[in-house]
């Protein structure tokens, strides 16, 4: 990027954020930590069973060395650096090294397919990529071979399979580090110089919207946004200094950057990185963090894991669990309703803490968690209550990438089941006339990357339009209903938000995904994706033999099981919005097929297209359908397979339940 352009950006940012101190940036935080708390552990990574530790001094030294090295590759202010891979210390170091050079890390999800990466690279004219291992290197080489010519440097962390046979432009981070160290030694003032280069007005990271609708948009977040967001949250008591944090969520997701880099630098977190994604749960237990963030799905999975574990457990343990857990859940429900437990109940709960709750939290690795959070989408009431009943002060965040995901959260004292909480200090919130939630604060971004139209749509008069529908309660707590854009109407003019219903369905352990249909139709119907783990286990318990996902999904017993779940949800919906028919799909929604996003949000258009014959059958009264299923193989080829799918009515069951 041209220096004038950068300078221009800087000036405009200064004008927008007069309160920001120029040298108050992330690298400064790192330098301060290394100076004041140099011996403290900043980062741990589990490597071959043991935890490698990095102190703040190590941290700084590596970031500086990498920055010095990166500079020799020609990376400079305004350059975008692609980051692909699972959480690795070297990648974090590399990102901050880029930030030091006023370049912008642009993380991508490691399982993103090459086309998407290529379009991201093209949009951001990426010249340098920071990747985890050979797999990602190969992916990038493929993109380069496919015609993307600007990729000059591929820096990789894990040298396995690459050592001594690096492809053109590929360089081990270890070698870059050595190069940078040598340079730092030669130039004694370089480190100090590097540290003073960034500005609070620089973009610290370039994140991306999920792309639920249309192509992903780049969301640049500046040092200042991140710092003010973190400070607001910490001021409200949502983070404390020195938290032990587990960095296991994707690096491309806003939360990881905010927690693992933003908050970690500001509040000196001890960040822990699991050995692999598959070992994350085990490693979580070894670390026992004090701060834990999980998506509602992750919490729900955890609950499923517990329930499956308990159902397999021995008699006494199972009985104790089934006594204490409902007791505690009921206690928690009443507590949220404002009724305090009696002394006897408190004593009994303490007994349960020793016998069940404590051991459970220990098994999950949540024994030390004081700040368990969730965000992203609505959380099932039973899941929420369960973990709160366990004694975890589980709370929900509400926010978007655009506002560093730090916007609204449930306060520790007054939590109710249906509200998202109160805005952070420093965050203004209002509801627009058409019911949209608007926010304004210093941690809201300054505009999309190279997308003035979208920016103008989202940022109006300093207010950010979240696109969510909601309202404020009398006590100032926010209730989020769903996407404004998602509000649809049935043919009869009933207004509903499919996601809202889907989430209710997904609160069932047996349902992994659901897609609610009904827009411009006579009634609501559902495509159901069963949860293979939970239903599979249920099938084993109940002696239902099955061979595959597709087979299991079509078992009459499974249909009966799902029917009950659907009927249960119908019970809390207005009668006109009852789900009348559903189909159990023969496969899961697959991000590779574009049916869901990487964060598993539905892409309704794709689904409508893929499953059109099934959807028709849901509305033409047929009891079954032969479906030509499209299959994508891992090679990228696709084929078709004939599937026989049953279509079920819920109404009868519902009537039966009412009788």
């Amino acid at each position: 990027m041209l220096p004038e352009k950068i300078h221009q950006n800087l000036e405009s940012s200064r004008a927008m954020h007069p309160g920001w101190q120029d040298q108050d940036h992330l690298i400064r935080q790192l330098v301060n930590n290394a100076r004041d708390h140099g011996d403290q552990v900043a980062l741990r990574e589990r490597d071959r069973g043991i935890w490698q530790e990095y102190t703040w001094q190590d941290y700084l030294e590596r970031v500086m060395a990498l920055a010095a090295g990166l500079e020799t590759l020609g990376i400079g202010p305004g350059d975008r650096v692609l980051v692909v891979g699972d959480n690795r210390p070297a990648l974090y170091f590399g990102m901050l090294a880029a930030v030091t050079l006023r370049a912008v890390p642009s993380p991508a999800y490691p399982d993103t397919n090459p086309q998407e990466i290529q379009s991201q690279m093209e949009a951001e004219s990426i010249r340098c990529a920071l990747v985890e291992d050979q797999e990602q290197v190969d992916k990038l080489l493929g993109i380069r071979a496919a015609g993307y010519g600007h990729l000059d440097h591929i820096l990789f962390d894990d040298p396995r399979g690459l050592k001594d046979k690096e492809p053109r432009g590929a360089l081990a981070l270890e070698d870059l580090l050595a190069r940078g160290r040598a340079r730092l030694e030669r130039e004694p003032n370089l480190a100090r110089d590097l540290q003073s280069r960034p500005s609070v007005h620089d973009t610290a990271v370039l994140l991306h919207s999920s792309g639920t609708t249309g192509a992903p948009k780049g969301i640049p977040l500046k040092h200042g946004h991140i710092l003010s967001g973190v400070r607001n949250a910490s001021q409200a008591g949502y983070f404390r200094e020195g938290e032990v944090h587990m960095a296991y969520l994707p690096m491309a997701w806003v939360g990881d950057f905010i927690f693992t880099i933003g908050a970690a630098l500001v509040l000196r977190f001890c960040v822990n990185i699991p050995e692999r994604q598959e070992t994350a749960l085990h490693d979580l237990r070894e670390i026992a963090p004090t701060l834990y963030f999980g998506s509602p799905r992750a919490w729900s999975n955890m609950l499923t894991r517990i329930q499956v574990g308990i159902s397999e457990s021995t008699g006494l343990k199972r009985r104790l669990y089934h006594h204490f857990m409902p007791f505690a859940v009921e206690l928690e429900r009443r507590r949220l309703e404002g009724r305090a437990p009696t002394a006897v109940e408190r004593v009994w709960r303490a007994v349960g803490e020793v016998l069940i709750f404590g051991p459970l939290k220990d098994q999950l690795g949540l024994a030390r968690v004081e700040r368990p959070y969730t965000a992203g989408e609505a959380m099932g009431e039973d899941v929420f209550l369960f973990f709160r009943a366990l004694g975890l002060n589980l709370r929900q965040f509400y926010g978007q990438t655009e506002n560093c995901a730090l916007c609204v959260a449930q306060p520790p004292d007054s939590i109710s089941l249906h509200t998202a909480g109160r805005p952070f200090p420093g965050v203004e919130l209002k509801i627009s006339d058409d019911g949209e939630i608007l926010v304004r604060s210093d941690n809201i971004f300054d505009g999309y990357f190279n997308n003035p139209e979208a920016t103008a749509e989202t940022l109006q008069d300093g207010w950010m339009h979240t696109g969510d529908a909601g309202y404020l309660e009398e006590d100032g707590q926010l209730v989020v209903l769903g996407r404004v854009s998602e509000v649809v109407y049935t043919r009869g003019g009933e207004r509903f938000i499919p996601t809202y219903v889907e989430n209710r369905l997904k609160f069932s352990h047996y349902i992994k995904d659901a897609c609610i249909l009904g827009k411009d139709r006579d009634y609501l119907a559902a495509l159901i994706v069963i949860d293979i783990d939970a239903v599979g286990h249920w099938a084993e318990e109940n002696g239902v033999a099955y061979t595959s996902f597709a087979d299991l999904s079509q078992k009459p017993q499974v249909y009966e099981l799902v029917r009950k779940e659907v009927a249960h949800v119908n019970g809390v919906l207005p009668e006109a919005l009852a789900i009348q028919r559903f189909v159990n799909l023969h496969k899961e929604f697959d991000p590779d097929d574009g049916e869901v996003t990487r964060t598993r949000k539905l892409r309704r258009k794709v689904i409508d297209a893929h499953y059109a014959p099934i959807i028709e059958s849901l509305y033409d009264g047929r009891g079954a359908i032969e479906f030509e299923a499209r299959i994508s193989y891992e090679t990228g080829e696709s084929g078709t397979l004939k599937r026989h799918l049953a279509v079920a009515d819920v109404t009868g069951a519902r009537l039966a339940e009412e009788v």
Binding site: R46, I50, Q363, L364
Partner: protein, 357 residues
């Protein structure tokens, strides 16, 4: 339920291989050690001298044997003879005026040297044949002791242990004897635990699992078999001396007969081959079970509830003992240690049945 594993992480392999990485286990060990140290103040002299003391010493013996049988896989049905060598050596040395501490060392060395002769058979054969060979050597050692009055002590064939001091403390009071035995057992325990996780221990395990294969990976089976016999016999010899000085206070050949060898093997097997905790449990089982049964039956008999002859009554412990050994081997071939392990796991994975991660 008692176990809390979260937050336990290791930054070095050494700490990951620590003896008791889990806090609850460490607490249990500390608690037991504390109880063991406090035993003279908690237990009556009967339980101290007739239960705790012999139990500890036999545990040390079982540990010495389990190093050979469990870790190195070399069967030994003549370990009582090895202990006898230690006992007689130590007595003759102290009688000749050698300080007790050195006599213990001498006992260990002498037992280790002769124990290596037992090991010579192991260089040639294994399994059942080794059982028979060591058994035969047990007879030879026993015969030699009995038939050489200079060893066994003349016509009475009894040698009383002379008064000695250990680390400047006279071995007179029950307490002094007990603490000496405790110290030795703790030393042996720590030693075996550390051997098991050392390269030496792993070499022994390699030899145990398949000696040919071990030689392929560069572990010389001959050398390690002999080393195993040496180490185990050394410990066994010292234990024999401790047994003589701290418990019997006199040695006769009968104290180290063939049946004692069998009992030692039973301790190791019933406890669980190669397991340290198993040695404690096995020694307790084999040593104390007949005593407890005898006392229990005598207690029951006084009520005259069961009209059985005194002769049968006195044989019941023998039958029960045999039946229980059969039972343990049939139903839990990994021994009492496995049962303990199952109980521990039951609480370790609480409230689940299996580990979750």
């Amino acid at each position: 339920m008692f176990y809390r594993l979260s937050g336990i992480h290791h930054t070095r392999y050494e700490s990951a291989r620590a003896l008791w990485p889990v806090t609850a286990d460490r607490r249990i060990v500390q608690g037991l050690l504390l109880l063991a140290v406090a035993a003279p103040f908690l237990l009556s002299d009967l339980y101290l001298t007739s239960y705790m003391l012999p139990w500890l010493i036999w545990t040390a013996a079982a540990l010495s044997l389990t190093l050979l049988m469990g870790v190195a896989g070399q069967l030994h049905f003549g370990f009582a003879a090895v202990m006898a060598i230690g006992a007689y050596t130590s007595i003759h040395l102290t009688r000749a005026g050698v300080p007790f501490e050195l006599a213990l060392l001498g006992a260990g060395l002498m037992a280790a040297l002769i124990g290596c002769l037992f090991g010579a058979a192991a260089l040639r054969v294994k399994g059942l044949y080794l059982v028979m060979a060591t058994l035969a050597m047990q007879y030879l050692v026993e015969w030699t002791i009995i038939n050489v009055p200079a060893i066994s002590g003349g016509a009475q064939a009894t040698l009383s242990t002379p008064d000695v001091t250990f680390l400047f403390i006279p071995l007179q009071s029950d307490g002094a004897l007990y603490y000496t035995a405790l110290l030795w057992t703790v030393v042996v325990t720590l030693l075996i635990m550390n051997i098991k996780r050392s390269s030496f221990g792993r070499a022994l395990v390699a030899v145990r699992d398949k000696d040919f294969a071990a030689s392929v990976i560069g572990v010389n089976p001959l050398k390690y078999k002999l080393l195993a016999f040496f180490a185990s016999s050394f410990l066994g010899g010292v234990t024999g001396a401790v047994l003589a000085f701290c418990y019997y206070q006199a040695v006769t050949p009968e104290q180290f007969g063939f049946n004692v060898s069998i009992q030692l093997v039973a301790m190791v097997l019933v406890g669980g081959l190669g397991s340290v905790i198993g040695a404690y449990l096995g020694a307790g089982f084999v040593l104390l079970l007949p005593i407890v049964l005898t006392n229990l039956l005598a207690f029951v008999a006084q009520f005259d509830l069961i009209p059985i002859s005194f002769n049968l009554l006195s044989h019941i412990p023998l039958m029960v003992y045999g039946a229980l050994i059969i039972g343990v081997i049939l139903f839990e071939p990994l021994g009492l240690a496995k049962i303990y392990d199952n109980i521990r796991k039951y609480f370790l994975v609480w409230p689940f049945r299996h580990t979750q991660s």
